[in-house]
Amino acid sequence: MAEAKHRSFSFQRVFALTVNTLIELTRQKVFYVLLIFALLLIGSSIFMARLTFQQEFQILKDVSLGAMSIFTSLLAIVATARLIPQDIEDRTIYTILAKPVPRFEYVLGKLAGVLLLLAIGTLVMSAMFLVVLYTREQTVLHETLRQMSAAPREQVDDALRAVRSSALNLDILPGVAVIYLKACLLAALTLFVSTFATTNIFTMVVMVFIYFIGHLQATAREYWLQEQSAGWITHALLAFVALLFPDLQTFNLVDDIVAGAAIPFALFAKTAALGIFYTTIYTLLAALVFYGKEL
């Protein structure tokens, strides 16, 4: 019998866990329910009451990107919350860890499965969104051409240009990437919370709480660092929020992209880096707690 050399880190092991997690997740109804709901939302904006085309495109983009944002954030939390606790409850974790699998790889594999799931969801929704946007854009372009068939060339060009610029703004793509990274952050954070949470409800409630506080963190932080007049209890509370919670507002770029703003590359790169940083830290913390966990 060959003595297998033990590798302290093995991509094959992590990959096997990732794929397994992905299969497990795609069997859960929550993924399909959320996905179909989001797709319906995006698709239905084709039928909305017609305002001017600028208004229509704006609302289409807002609703679609809003749907994507909520879908990925919600899925990240809901899908991840039960992963490790389920394995512990079903005892499947014993069979896995009885193999030469370091606990860190187990945590990593689970998370990677969720991140893959989120990526697939994001891609599907983006594709749907782009198809709807393109279809509407073409329809409006043709209508415009028809209505302006007698107008001078210059005006027609101006009009077409106006239509095109209100439709697809390429900056939407980095905006979507940042939405995805926010979801990754939430998934890693949920995984971390689930390693010490006692029940599923606890994890979900904590995550919802974190989601809202995370959007207020910026205000709390600035107030803490600038205001001197507040009492020490307020200061302590603000410090607590500023240090412990991630600033989720930094990941909301789409609101402004849709309004027509351009994203400087430096901003995108820094935001992306921050998202990756958070995701990594929370994963490490999850592994740290999990190493000491009594099974």
Binding site: Q217, T219, L244, P246, D247, A259, K270, I281, V289
Partner: protein
């Protein structure tokens, strides 16, 4: 126990480390006039609990859209104060959306003002004029604040120019703002022309207007639109331009 303390320490250290980066990103957001919605009690009152929370949680633009649709309905019902209120909220939520500033201004300066002028319930003409001018001012204010939040985009300059031209008959300012718009990439092709037209209506600025119009004329065929030619001829006569320097008459 040790593990718990270790985790706590890591969280705090990482928390402190990330603060400068987050502050920097927030600063960039402010600089770009992105408005991550601040904890604004007024806005909370106006939007109601649910709307405020939704706006706060990253669905600002959807909340703005919903309010915008409500403003549309209010307009159809000619509830002008409600239209104004909603557009104030909408532009607070989405200061980077040109559309909202533009429409807010339009509803005030073009629609509400007319309604005020024709208001049967106000018998005194002077007071109707006063109301009308107040609406002009509110519309102008929308555009000016919109420009402040979006200085690098031409549309609101164009709208402000139009407002000066049509509502205040202030051709000097109109010309100024058309020119500002024309200087920005992405401006409509007619901005330069309109700026020159407006200038031509100003007493004492005929020489400058003539030079500009002549430049445009010389630029090419596509600038030689009927209005341009008419104004040019008018100025040629007014300024007594030498015959050999005048533009030829348009053919039959």
């Amino acid at each position: 126990m040790i593990r718990f303390l270790l985790v706590l320490v890591i969280v705090l250290v990482v928390g402190a480390a990330k603060l400068p980066i987050e502050r920097e990103l927030s600063a960039i957001h402010r600089q770009e006039h992105f408005r991550g919605i601040e904890f604004n009690l007024d806005l909370r009152e106006q939007l109601g609990q649910l709307g405020f929370i939704a706006a706060l949680s990253g669905f600002r633009s959807i909340v703005a859209d919903v309010l915008f649709i409500q403003a549309h309905v209010a307009w159809e019902r000619t509830e002008w104060s409600r239209v104004l209120l909603l557009f104030r909220q909408v532009t607070t939520l989405q200061p980077r959306a040109i559309l909202f500033w533009d429409m807010g201004a339009w509803h005030m300066a073009w629609n509400a003002s007319v309604a005020a002028m024709n208001d049967r319930s106000q018998p005194r003409f002077a007071l109707r004029i006063k109301a009308q001018r107040e609406y002009f001012a509110i519309g102008k204010d929308f555009l000016e604040r919109g420009i402040k939040n979006n200085p690098e985009r031409p549309q609101l300059y164009e709208s402000l120019a139009r407002l000066y031209k049509e509502k205040y008959q202030d051709h000097a300012r109109a010309s100024e703002f058309f020119a500002k718009a024309a200087a920005i990439p992405g401006a409509s092709s007619y901005d330069k022309r309109f700026s020159a037209y407006e200038l031509s209506y100003c007493d004492g600025r005929e020489r400058g207007a003539y030079q500009r119009l002549r430049q445009l004329y010389d630029a090419g065929e596509n600038e030689r639109l009927p209005t341009l030619i008419t104004r040019l001829k008018f100025l040629e006569n007014k300024l007594n331009i030498a015959q050999d320097q005048r533009i030829p008459d348009p053919g039959p």
